[in-house]
C-alpha cells in the first residue's frame, strides 16, 4: 500500500449535524494526515462520536448533515451501497461497548469470517482468520464461542479483528476502552498502538480520557458541545493550550487536588472481622447446582476515625459487595462489623442507631435521586433515622447540609433533572452528610463525572472530612485518583484484601501481583 | 389417550404435507349436492338418538319416521295413518286394540320384526324404571299381548280418544330387544333410513335402508347438520352449504330467502302455544284481576312483529289454531291499557308493582320478554328480565316453580290437560277444570269432545291463567326444487321418506 504521509486521508470542512432543529455538530473542520494517530477528545454530548459516525457514513437516519467530508480526496458517497464499499475495506471501526456491538446470536468466528468474506470472497478464509486472531492475541478456541462467553477484553479484541479484516487504511476507535477495567484497557491500548504501527494504519481515536489519548496520539482535537475548540500536537496541548477549556481538561487529568490538611487520625472507629459473602447461582427450582460464588472471602480491616481509606481493585473483585454490606444494604454470610462497639453484619435490617452513623455516596449521580421528588425531600429522607426532630430542626439540618457542599438552599425546591452531574454529586454528598454519620462509604464517587469536575468533588470531600471529622471508605478502580485523597490504600482481588499500605509506599513498592498490574495499567502523562 | 391423540396429529400433519397439492383444488366449488342427497340444518344437537328415552325434540327430528317407525304414524297434517301396523280393530268398549303387523319388515341390523318386538317395546316403556319421556301415553295401558307372530292386542285401563295418535308419536316407536340398549348411540329401527355416523357437535348422517318395506324413497343419503347460531344458519343457507332448514331459527331474515329464487320459504304451524306463563300461586298473580290486567296490557301484534317478525298466529287460550276444535278467544281480553290500569287498581296495585320474568334462550322468549316488559311498564308493572339457560329454566322454573313470569312455547300436541295438574309449574289449581279434563279424557265421541274442548278453551281464557300470546309458526326454508317436506309440525319430526328433488 503506497502511502504518502503528506496527504490528508480525511478532510472535514464546515460540517454541521443536527437532530430536528437541535444542532449537534457546529461548523467542524479538521483533517487527518495519512498514517498519523489523531485523537478527538471531549465530554459526553460533545459530538465526538457523531463526528466519527459521520466519517463512516453511519449517522442515524434522523440526523441532518451539511458540509463535506472527504476521504482520500473524494467526498464520501451519500449512497449507502457505495459507502458500504468504503466501510470495512478503507475504514474500520471499533465501538465502545463490545458486548452490544457483537451479534449475540452468532459465534464470534463467524462474525469475523463474515467481514473477511466481504472483502476477499471465500479465498483462504481459514488462514486469514487464524492470522487475524493471532494478531489481536486470541486463541483458536475462541472462534466457536458466542460473545457472552468471552470477557470484555476478548470481545474488544474480536471487534478489532473484525475491523482489521478488510485491511482498512483508517481505523476509527470510538471510546474502545472506556467499558473495560484499567488493566484490560492498558492492554488494548498497547495492542492498538502496535497494530497501527505494524500496519502503517491511520488512527482516529476518540475518548473522554486525555490520558488515554495522550498515550496513543500525535495530534488531538478538543470538542465541546459540538464545537471544535482547538486542534494541536499533543505536546502543545499539555504545555501550551490556547483554550480555557482545554487547560481545564489538562489540569483535571493531572488531578490536582487541594492538598490534604494534616488530619490526626485517632482511635479505631470501624472494623470488619472475617467477612464472607457467597452468592447462590442458578434459578428457582433449578436442577443444576453450581458452587456458590464467593464474592467476599474472609476480609478483615479497620478504619480509624477521620481516616480516609481507599479500597482498590479490578472490577469484579468484590469491593462493591463489601461496601454494600458495610452500609447494611446486604448481609454477610459470616463475620461481623463493628462500628463504635455496635456489632452488626447479619441482620436483615440495621437498627436506626447504627444506620444513622453510616452513609453511602453512589457512583451515578443521575440515578441516585428520585426524579419525581424534589431535592429537598430526597435530602430529608435520612432524617427519619433521627428520632424526635422538630420541623425546624429538620430544615436547619437540611439547609446546613446543602450549604456545606457549596450549594444554595433555594435549590431544595428543584427537581433532580434541573441540576448538572457535578451538582448532583454534591447533593448526594449533602444527603449522605445530613445525619452527620461517622463513616461515609464512597462508591466510585467521581468515575461517572466529567473529568473537568472530578477535581472539585474530590477537593470538596477532603474539606468535608476535615470539617466534620468523618471517616471515608473510598472505593475505586483508579489508583491515580485515590493517591491524592486516601491516607491508606487497601488492594482487593478475588474477594480478598491482598495488600494495604500508605499511598506513597504502595506506589513505590508494590508487593502483590495485582497491585503491580494496576500500577502498570495507569497511563502516566509525561508532559 | 393423549399419546393416541398426538399420534393421530402426526398423521394429520403428514397428510397436510402430502396434500399441499390439494390446496390448489380448494377453491374450486364443491360438487353440487346430488339429487339424492340432502343436508338439513337443525338448531339443537340431540343428547342421544333414542326417541323412547328422552324428551329432546331434536331426537325425534332426526329419527322419527326415518330410522324408527311406530305402529301408527302421524302425517304432515296430523292425521293418523298405518305404519308398522297395517290395520287395527277396536273393541266396542273402546278398550282393546288389535293390530295387524306389516309382513317382511327387518330391522337395520337384519333381525326380523314381529309381535315380540312390539310387546318388548311397550312393556319397556310401561315398566317402572322406564325412562320414556311420555309415560302418560303408556300409563293407561293395562296389557300388551302377542296374539301371534304378526298381531298384537293392547288393552287400555280406560278409553282414550287419542291413543292411536299417541302411539304414532316418536316416544312409541318400535325397537328391538337386541339393540334397544344401544339406540342412544347406534339407533337400529325399521325405518327407511339407517344410521351411518354421528360426528358429535357437527352432524348425523343417514343412508337409505335397502331392505325397507314400504313406499319407495327418493333420497339416498341425508345429513342433519347442527347450527345453533341464527346468523350462521342464514349464511350457511345462502352459501348453499345446506339444502334446507325445516325450523329456521331466524324469522327476521326470511325476507331474504323469500326474495331469492333459489329458495322457498314455507310458513306452517307448530303445536307450540307460546305463553306468558304465570305463577298462579304467587302474589300478586294469584289475583285474577292482576292476570286480567296483564292480558289487557299485552299487545300481541307488537310481540309477534317484534319477536317473530310477523310469523305467528295470535291465540287467546292454550289451543292450537289449526286444531279442528279450536275457537278464537283472542278478543276476550282485547288490548286496552285503560281497562288494565283499572283492574290493577281494583286489585290494590294502582301504581303497579315489581316482578321478575325468566327468559329461556329462544329468541321468542328473549325478544318477547323485552317487548312484554316494555308493554307492562305502561301499566306500572316493572319487570326485571332474568335470562336463563334451558337447564336452569327446567330446574328453577319448571321443577322448583321459583318464578313470577316466564315465556315458553308448549309444543306438545293437544296438551290442554296440563292445566288440570295443580302441581304443574303454572300452579293453577281449579277443581272445575280438573273435572272437565277427566270428562274429556273419558269421552270418545268426537262432537262431545269438541264441545268439551271449546268449553275448556273458553274457561282458560277467562281465568287468564297465563298470558296467551301466539302460536309459534314453523318457518322453514329450503331449496326451491325440494318437495315433500313437512310444512307443519303436528309432531316433532322431519319425514325424509317423502322428500324429493324436482327439476
Amino acid at each position: 500500500m503506497p502511502q504518502d504521509r503528506t496527504k490528508n486521508i480525511v478532510n472535514i470542512k464546515e460540517l454541521f449535524v443536527s437532530f430536528n432543529i437541535r444542532p449537534a455538530l457546529d461548523n467542524i473542520s479538521f483533517s487527518i494526515k495519512r498514517g498519523e494517530h489523531f485523537g478527538l477528545i471531549g465530554e459526553s454530548g460533545s459530538g465526538k462520536s457523531l463526528t466519527a459516525l459521520a466519517i463512516a457514513g453511519l449517522l442515524p437516519p434522523t440526523a441532518k448533515m451539511i458540509g463535506t467530508i472527504e476521504f482520500n480526496g473524494r467526498p464520501i458517497p451519500k449512497n449507502d451501497k457505495q459507502m458500504s464499499r468504503i466501510r470495512g475495506r478503507k475504514i474500520g471501526m471499533i465501538f465502545q461497548e463490545p458486548m452490544s456491538a457483537l451479534n449475540p446470536l452468532m459465534q464470534v468466528g463467524k462474525q469475523i469470517i463474515e467481514a473477511l468474506k466481504l472483502h476477499y470472497g471465500e479465498e483462504k478464509i481459514e488462514e486469514r482468520l487464524k492470522k487475524l486472531l493471532k494478531e489481536v492475541g486470541l486463541e483458536e478456541k475462541h472462534i466457536k464461542r458466542y460473545p457472552h462467553q468471552l470477557s470484555g477484553g476478548q470481545r474488544q479484541r474480536i471487534m478489532i479483528a473484525i475491523a482489521l479484516a478488510g485491511e482498512p487504511e483508517l481505523l476509527i476507535c470510538d471510546e474502545p476502552t472506556s467499558a473495560l477495567d484499567l488493566i484490560t484497557q492498558a492492554k488494548i491500548l498497547s495492542l492498538l498502538n502496535r497494530i497501527c504501527e505494524q500496519r502503517n494504519m491511520t488512527l482516529l481515536f476518540i475518548s473522554h480520557d486525555l490520558a488515554a489519548v495522550s498515550s496513543l496520539c500525535q495530534r488531538v482535537g478538543v470538542l465541546k458541545k459540538g464545537v471544535l475548540l482547538e486542534v494541536a500536537e499533543i505536546g502543545k496541548i499539555f504545555t501550551n493550550a490556547k483554550n480555557k477549556y482545554t487547560k481545564l481538561l489538562v489540569k483535571s487529568a493531572k488531578l490536582n487536588i487541594s492538598p490534604l490538611k494534616e488530619i490526626s487520625t485517632r482511635n479505631e472507629l470501624f472494623s470488619a472481622h472475617n467477612i464472607v459473602r457467597k452468592f447462590k447461582q442458578g434459578k428457582f427450582l433449578s436442577f443444576s447446582k453450581k458452587a456458590p460464588l464467593i464474592a467476599v472471602n474472609n476480609v478483615s480491616f479497620t478504619i480509624k476515625s477521620s481516616e480516609s481509606v481507599a479500597l482498590v481493585g479490578p472490577s469484579g473483585c468484590g469491593k462493591t459487595t463489601l461496601a454494600r454490606m458495610i452500609v447494611g444494604l446486604d448481609r454477610a454470610d459470616s463475620g461481623n462489623f463493628c462500628l463504635e462497639k455496635n456489632i452488626y453484619g447479619k441482620q436483615k435490617k440495621l437498627p436506626k442507631n447504627i444506620r444513622r452513623d453510616l452513609a453511602l455516596v453512589f457512583q451515578d449521580p443521575f440515578s441516585s435521586f428520585n426524579p419525581r421528588q424534589k431535592i429537598g425531600h430526597s435530602i430529608a429522607e435520612p432524617l427519619r433515622l433521627l428520632d424526635g426532630l422538630s420541623n425546624i430542626e429538620k430544615s436547619t439540618k437540611i439547609i446546613r447540609a446543602i450549604e456545606s457542599v457549596g450549594l444554595d438552599k433555594s435549590m431544595l425546591n428543584r427537581y433532580p433533572h434541573e441540576f448538572s452531574g457535578g451538582q448532583r454529586q454534591r447533593l448526594a454528598i449533602a444527603r449522605a452528610l445530613v445525619t452527620r454519620p461517622r463513616l461515609v462509604v464512597l462508591d466510585e464517587p467521581v468515575s461517572a463525572l466529567d473529568v473537568s469536575v472530578r477535581g472539585e468533588i474530590l477537593s470538596l470531600l477532603n474539606n468535608l472530612r476535615s470539617e466534620f471529622a468523618i471517616s471515608f471508605l473510598l472505593i475505586s478502580h483508579d489508583l491515580n485518583m485515590v493517591y491524592a485523597v486516601a491516607d491508606r490504600i487497601m488492594v482487593m482481588n478475588a474477594g480478598r484484601i491482598v495488600e494495604q499500605a500508605e499511598p506513597k509506599k504502595l506506589f513505590s513498592n508494590p508487593q502483590h501481583e495485582i497491585t503491580k498490574q494496576l500500577l502498570a495499567a495507569r497511563i502516566n502523562i509525561n508532559y | 389417550m393423549f399419546s393416541l391423540v398426538f399420534g393421530k396429529f402426526f398423521l394429520l400433519f403428514r397428510n397436510l404435507i402430502l396434500s399441499i397439492s390439494v390446496i390448489f383444488l380448494l377453491f374450486t366449488a364443491s360438487a353440487l349436492a346430488q339429487q339424492s342427497e340432502i343436508k338439513l340444518g337443525m338448531v339443537l344437537e340431540p343428547p342421544h338418538l333414542d326417541p323412547t328415552a328422552g324428551a329432546a325434540a331434536a331426537i325425534d327430528e332426526i329419527t322419527y319416521l326415518n330410522i324408527f317407525e311406530g305402529l301408527t304414524k302421524i302425517d304432515a297434517n296430523g292425521a293418523v295413518l298405518p305404519s308398522l301396523a297395517t290395520s287395527w280393530e277396536i273393541s266396542d268398549d273402546n278398550l282393546t286394540y288389535i293390530f295387524k303387523l306389516k309382513e317382511g319388515v327387518k330391522f337395520h341390523d337384519g333381525s326380523k320384526f314381529d309381535a315380540e318386538d312390539v310387546v318388548f317395546t311397550f312393556e319397556r316403556a310401561m315398566a317402572e324404571d322406564s325412562v320414556n319421556a311420555q309415560k302418560g301415553i303408556f300409563s293407561i295401558i293395562e296389557e300388551v299381548r302377542a296374539i301371534d307372530d304378526m298381531s298384537v292386542a293392547i288393552t287400555l285401563k280406560n278409553p282414550s280418544g287419542d291413543f292411536l295418535f299417541n302411539i304414532g308419536r316418536g316416544d312409541a316407536v318400535i325397537v328391538a330387544k337386541e339393540s334397544a340398549d344401544n339406540n342412544k348411540v347406534n339407533p337400529i329401527g325399521t325405518g327407511p333410513f339407517k344410521f351411518v355416523r354421528w360426528d358429535r357437535g357437527s352432524r348425523v348422517i343417514l343412508e337409505a335402508y335397502e331392505n325397507y318395506k314400504g313406499d319407495a324413497v327418493s333420497l339416498k343419503r341425508a345429513e342433519f347438520v347442527f347450527i345453533s347460531d341464527p346468523n350462521t344458519a342464514i349464511s350457511a343457507m345462502l352459501a348453499g352449504d345446506l339444502d334446507g332448514f325445516p325450523m329456521f331459527p331466524a324469522p327476521e331474515s326470511l325476507e331474504i330467502f323469500a326474495n331469492d329464487d333459489r329458495f322457498k320459504v314455507v310458513v306452517g304451524t307448530t303445536e307450540g302455544e307460546t305463553i306468558l306463563a304465570t305463577n298462579n300461586k304467587r302474589a300478586p298473580f294469584n289475583d285474577i284481576r292482576v292476570r286480567q290486567a296483564i292480558a289487557h296490557a299485552i299487545d300481541r301484534k307488537a310481540i309477534i312483529d317484534g319477536a317473530m317478525f310477523g310469523y305467528g298466529t295470535p291465540i287467546g287460550s292454550h289451543f292450537a289454531p289449526h286444531h279442528p276444535y279450536y275457537v278464537d278467544k283472542v278478543d276476550i281480553y282485547p288490548f286496552d291499557l285503560e281497562k288494565a290500569r283499572q283492574l290493577l287498581a281494583e286489585a290494590g296495585y294502582p301504581n303497579g308493582f315489581k316482578a321478575t320474568i325468566k327468559l329461556p334462550p329462544p329468541s321468542y322468549a328473549r325478544r318477547g320478554g323485552q317487548i312484554i316488559a316494555s308493554q307492562l311498564r305502561e301499566i306500572g308493572i316493572e319487570l326485571e328480565l332474568i335470562n336463563v339457560e334451558w337447564a336452569q329454566w327446567l330446574d328453577e322454573v319448571f321443577s322448583k316453580k321459583d318464578y313470577d313470569l316466564t315465556i315458553v312455547s308448549h309444543v306438545e300436541p293437544f296438551d290442554i290437560g296440563i292445566y288440570a295438574n295443580p302441581d304443574y309449574y303454572f300452579q293453577f289449581d281449579n277443581e272445575d277444570f280438573q273435572a272437565l279434563m277427566q270428562q274429556l279424557n273419558r269421552t270418545t265421541n268426537d262432537d262431545a269432545r269438541r264441545a268439551l274442548a271449546i268449553y275448556a278453551q273458553d274457561f282458560l281464557a277467562r281465568h287468564a291463567v297465563n298470558g296467551y300470546l301466539f302460536q309459534l309458526a314453523k318457518t322453514g326454508v329450503w331449496r326451491a326444487n325440494i318437495e315433500g317436506m313437512w310444512a307443519n309440525a303436528p309432531v316433532e319430526g322431519n319425514d325424509l321418506s317423502t322428500i324429493r328433488f324436482v327439476d
Partner: protein, 289 residues
Amino acid sequence: MGKLKRENLFKTAWFHPSFRIGFLGSFFFIILAIISIFWTPYNIEELNIANRFAPASFNHLLGTDFFGRDMVSMLMKGALTSFIVAVLAVVIGMIIGVPFGLIAASYGGIIDNILSKTNDFLFAFPAIISAIIITAIFGPGAINAMIAIGIFNIAVFARVARGGALSIKMLQFIDAAKLSGMGELKIAFKHILPNIFSLLIVQASVQLSLGILAEAGLSYIGFGTQPPQTSLGLMLKEAQSFFLIHPTLAILPGLTIVLIVIFINIAGDGLRDVLDPRLAKEETLDAAG
C-alpha cells in the same frame, strides 16, 4: 434517561399529533357515553315495534333498530356499558395487579418466583377462558365479563409493574431510600410507583381498547352483557341476523367499536412515543461518549 425526566405527561403528549387525534376521538365517545347516563334522545327501554327499522331522519338521526329504539340512544348507552366494563376491568387489573407486581419486584427471591410464575400462568389466559369459568359458575352478565377481563388485566399490570419496578430498582435512589431506613413496601409505593406511573398509563390505554374488544367478543357469544342492558358488542350480536336486510344496524355498532379502539390505540401510541426513551436514544447517541 428520558423516562426519568419529570414532566407533565399530558402536556408533553398533547403536542404529539397522534395522541391529540386519539385523545379527542376517544374523548368524544366517552362524553357521549357519559351523557347517556343522564339523557338520551329517546328512552331505550320503551320499545316501539310499529316504528322499527325506521331509516335515518330528523327524528332519528341514525334510524331505529328492530325494536324501534333510536339508534343514537342505543349507541350512546351501548358505548357506556362497553366503557364501564373496560374501564372497571382496567381498574381491577391495576388495583390488584400493580401491588402484585410491585411486591414481586420488591421482595424478589421465592416470593417473586411464585408471584411471577402465577402471573405468567394468568397471562396466558385471555379473558375468554376466565369468562367461561365465571359464566359456568355465576351465569352470564356484564359484571362477569368485567371480572373476567379484569383477571387478565391483573396479570398484564402485574407484569408491567414488575418489569418497570425492576428497572427502577436498579437505580441508586432506591438504595438511598433503603439506607434511610424505609421498608420495601414503603419504597415500592413512594419511590417506585410514581416512576412507573406513566408506563402504567400507557398500558391502561392498551388494556382499555382490548377490554372493549373483549366485551364485544364475550357479549357476542352470550357470556357478556345481557338484554335489556345493551353494549356495543351485544348490539352487534343482535343485529347480525339482520345484516343482509338492514346492514346499518350492525355496521353502526361495529364501526363505533372499531373507531373507539383505534382512537384509544392511537392515543396510547402517542403517549408511548412521548415516553419511549428509544426515540431519545438516536438523538443522544453520543451520550455515552
